[in-house]
């Protein structure tokens, strides 16, 4: 390509309702010896500026691969096989900002354009903070390195930051994320920190370049419930303070209900349903969403009775069902229709969409 960046359209004025990120019909495939796995098979959703979008799904639903595709860090033999990932990035100097929309799916993963977006404008909080930090460098060094690399995020029109200034910023970030004794902790190694502190340091690192979009991939799965509560409260506060958008990836419906304002439900690489959080939990449309919510034991339902279950188990990725991926386990399956055609994601309410033939008859081209 050689261009480095392909501006698709340029918007000078930032409309509030204009999405920050727009994923359109994203397809990610993994070419394995045994065949091609379609990990993400036509996913579409929008993220508005400052919005918290929850992506929920079970293992193998493609939620993590979608996130990796947005950052262009899909591991080989995986590749983005189609679709668009439109990201609205800010350009220019403070006061005279312009915005342009780039298609991340078309940027070379190792090119300078992608590298200036990754980490700086779109940051990631990974699932396992133990594995994410290098054990042979202090956490401070690693964050300072990121700040120095993306110094333009802090000084859009000035000279590069000095090491001392970067260290100062790191200390302030540690204070922001609630790490006690921040100036000493900058010099700590990741293995000297507890799970909760390590996750806080990871959040500080993700925030270190003032991203407009934060992707949190199961950020609380590896930690205990009282620590999880602290981290979730912290993320909520920071989101309000910095006004960034967050994509929150998790399999925990409780976390989604408490964190997200908009929810995307995925199953086997496809979006089954999406909508505002209240509609998803109180008026779910897709049979998968409904069954998933019913099958969970709650803190105030009736105990020691059989729960409604979803029959069967998740199909193996090489054994994708034809038609709607959920039809073999679906209680409302329509004979002849669900097995032969793939329902497309269509509006089923004011702001809610579902891919299900119970509500419409629009199929995706095979």
């Amino acid at each position: 390509m050689g261009l480095g960046m392909l501006p698709i359209r340029t918007a000078t004025e930032a409309g509030a309702a204009q999405p920050l990120l727009s994923v359109r019909d994203l397809r990610v495939t993994f070419a394995m010896d045994e065949g091609v796995v379609r990990a993400v098979d036509g996913a579409s959703f929008d993220v508005l500026p400052g919005q918290v979008v929850g992506i929920v799904g079970e293992s193998g639903c493609g939620k993590s691969v979608t996130m990796r595709a947005i950052l262009q860090i899909v591991d080989k033999p995986g590749r983005i096989a189609g679709g668009e990932i439109l990201f609205r990035r800010r350009l220019g100097q403070a006061g005279a900002e312009t915005e342009e929309t780039v298609d991340l799916a078309r940027l070379p993963p190792r090119g300078s354009a992608m590298r200036s977006i990754r980490g700086a404008e779109i940051a990631l909080i990974p699932q396992e903070p133990m594995a994410a930090f290098s054990p042979v460098h202090t956490v401070g060094e690693q964050i300072i390195e990121a700040i120095l690399l993306h110094w333009r995020q802090w000084r859009p029109d000035g000279r590069p930051l000095s090491r001392t200034e970067a260290r100062q910023i790191t200390g302030d970030l540690f204070r922001d994320v609630g790490i006690s004794m921040p100036d000493q902790r900058v010099d700590a190694y990741s293995w000297q920190l507890s799970g909760g502190l390590r996750q806080r340091a990871m959040i500080a690192m993700a925030l270190s370049c003032k991203p407009r979009l934060l992707i949190a991939d199961e950020p609380t799965t590896a930690i205990d419930v009282t620590t999880q509560a602290q981290v979730l409260a912290l993320l909520r506060d920071l989101q309000r303070k910095y006004g960034m958008a967050i994509i929150f990836i998790t399999h925990d419906l409780g976390v989604i209900a408490q964190m997200a304002s908009y929810v995307v439900v995925m199953y086997l690489g496809r979006v089954m349903e999406e909508g505002p959080v209240d509609e998803i939990f109180h008026a779910p449309k897709h049979p998968y969403t409904r069954a998933l919510l019913r099958s969970m034991p709650s803190l105030y339902g009736q105990a020691r009775v059989a729960l409604p279950v979803i029959s069967g188990s998740l199909p193996h990725p090489f054994n994708r069902p034809s038609g709607c991926p959920f039809h073999p386990r679906c209680g409302d399956v329509l004979p002849g229709r669900c097995a032969s055609r793939v329902p497309s994601l269509q509006p089923v309410g004011e702001r809610q969409s579902a891919s299900c033939f119970l509500y419409h008859d629009v199929a995706d081209p095979a």
Binding site: E58, A229, A303, R304, V309
Partner: protein, 349 residues
């Protein structure tokens, strides 16, 4: 099924008394003991026949160590584990040798967390599930095959699968295989350590239902160890909460979820994000972190994080005492506090 009233007519199957498990911290060439990790510190409870006792707590609280001491995968430091055998005798498992434990093993079985690591990948289902039978003297292959077929049917798998290997099965199916293996010896007590936490959400309910159904059919007694409170609430008759190696509260399920008496229990319940956007929850009500069991705080172990802590809590360790019939709590202020949880206002639903 209702909870048998503790201390009532129901017969206990297992009584754990003052169980302790310390791991020594050694230092230097001569491996001098410089301290102890008090992983389980004076834990006492009993489980009635046919009952499910849920054991909850955060990682490092000692819940898994407690369950391992009960099945004697570990030797406790001190205490008693009294088991009422099928023959009607009461035996203490703690001082027993491996040889002495042998005849009791069939009566106490375990279901493991990881359905991928707990089955031998080189053995077929027949051998995986049939191994305990072989070990316990069922040498006739024909009879063993029949028994395995029966067990597979019991857990909802087709008996034709018995010549396949574990890799051919999904996580939920493997957990069923693990359950079939645990049931092969007709156990009376089943210790389940996080049996569904490694499974996908859509499969968890299936396994939970299976455990409930098997309990009714086979009159099993469960010690259910888990960190997920909504799962524990769903399956347990009574719930025990552990914190830094100690039991801090033990009560019938509905009582502990509606009116917990220990501030830690209440905080734990408030910390769970409820899957309903209209019920605000999951807020960081607790400050700080779990203390190390090698150097627990003075007085009540929970006082540095407790919003109600008084001078007394810093000095005196509170005893585990009965606050209401069958409701034990380890807190000086348990009678005075009214603690709210997301389930408090839910009425009798």
């Amino acid at each position: 099924m209702t909870a048998p009233s503790p201390g009532g007519a129901a017969t206990p199957l297992l009584e754990v008394r003052n169980l302790r498990k310390f791991f020594p911290i050694v230092k230097g060439t001569f491996r001098k003991v410089v301290g102890n990790v008090r992983a389980v510190d004076d834990v006492s409870f009993s489980i009635q026949e046919g009952e499910t006792l849920g054991l909850v707590g955060e990682s490092g609280c000692g819940k898994t160590t407690t369950s391992r001491c009960i099945i004697r995968a570990m030797a406790p430091t001190s205490g008693q584990v009294l088991f009422h055998t099928r023959a009607g005798k009461v035996v203490d498992l703690v001082p027993m040798s491996r040889k002495q434990l042998r005849p009791l093993r069939p009566e106490i079985q375990m279901i493991f967390q990881d359905p991928f690591g707990s089955l031998n990948p080189r053995m077929t289902l027949l051998d995986n599930v049939g191994e305990p039978l072989l070990v316990n003297g069922l040498r006739n292959r024909r009879e063993r095959t029949d028994r395995v077929a029966e067990l597979l049917r019991l857990v909802g798998l087709r008996p034709e699968f018995m010549h396949r290997f574990p890799h051919a099965f999904s996580g939920g199916q493997r957990q069923r295989i693990g359950i079939a293996r645990a049931l092969s010896t007709n156990p009376r007590l089943v210790v389940a350590d996080e049996p569904i936490s490694a499974l996908d959400v859509s499969v968890q309910a299936q396994v939970l239902n299976l455990l409930l159904e098997l309990q009714t059919r086979l009159h099993l007694t469960y010690l259910f160890v888990a960190h997920d409170l909504s799962v524990v609430r769903h399956i347990s008759d009574r719930v025990a909460v552990m914190y830094v190696g100690q039991l801090v509260e033990l009560a019938p399920t509905s009582a502990i979820f509606k009116r917990p008496k220990h501030p830690y229990t209440a905080a734990l319940m408030r910390a769970v994000p409820v899957p309903d956007p209209r019920v605000p929850s999951g807020n960081g009500a607790l400050k700080g972190e779990v203390p190390s069991p090698a150097a627990p705080p003075s007085g009540c172990y929970f006082h540095p994080r407790c919003q109600f802590a008084e001078e007394r809590c810093r000095r005196e360790p509170p005893p585990l005492r009965e606050i209401a019939p069958g409701h034990l709590a380890r807190c000086h202020l348990a009678d005075q506090l009214t603690l709210e949880t997301p389930a408090s206002g839910a009425g009798g639903r």
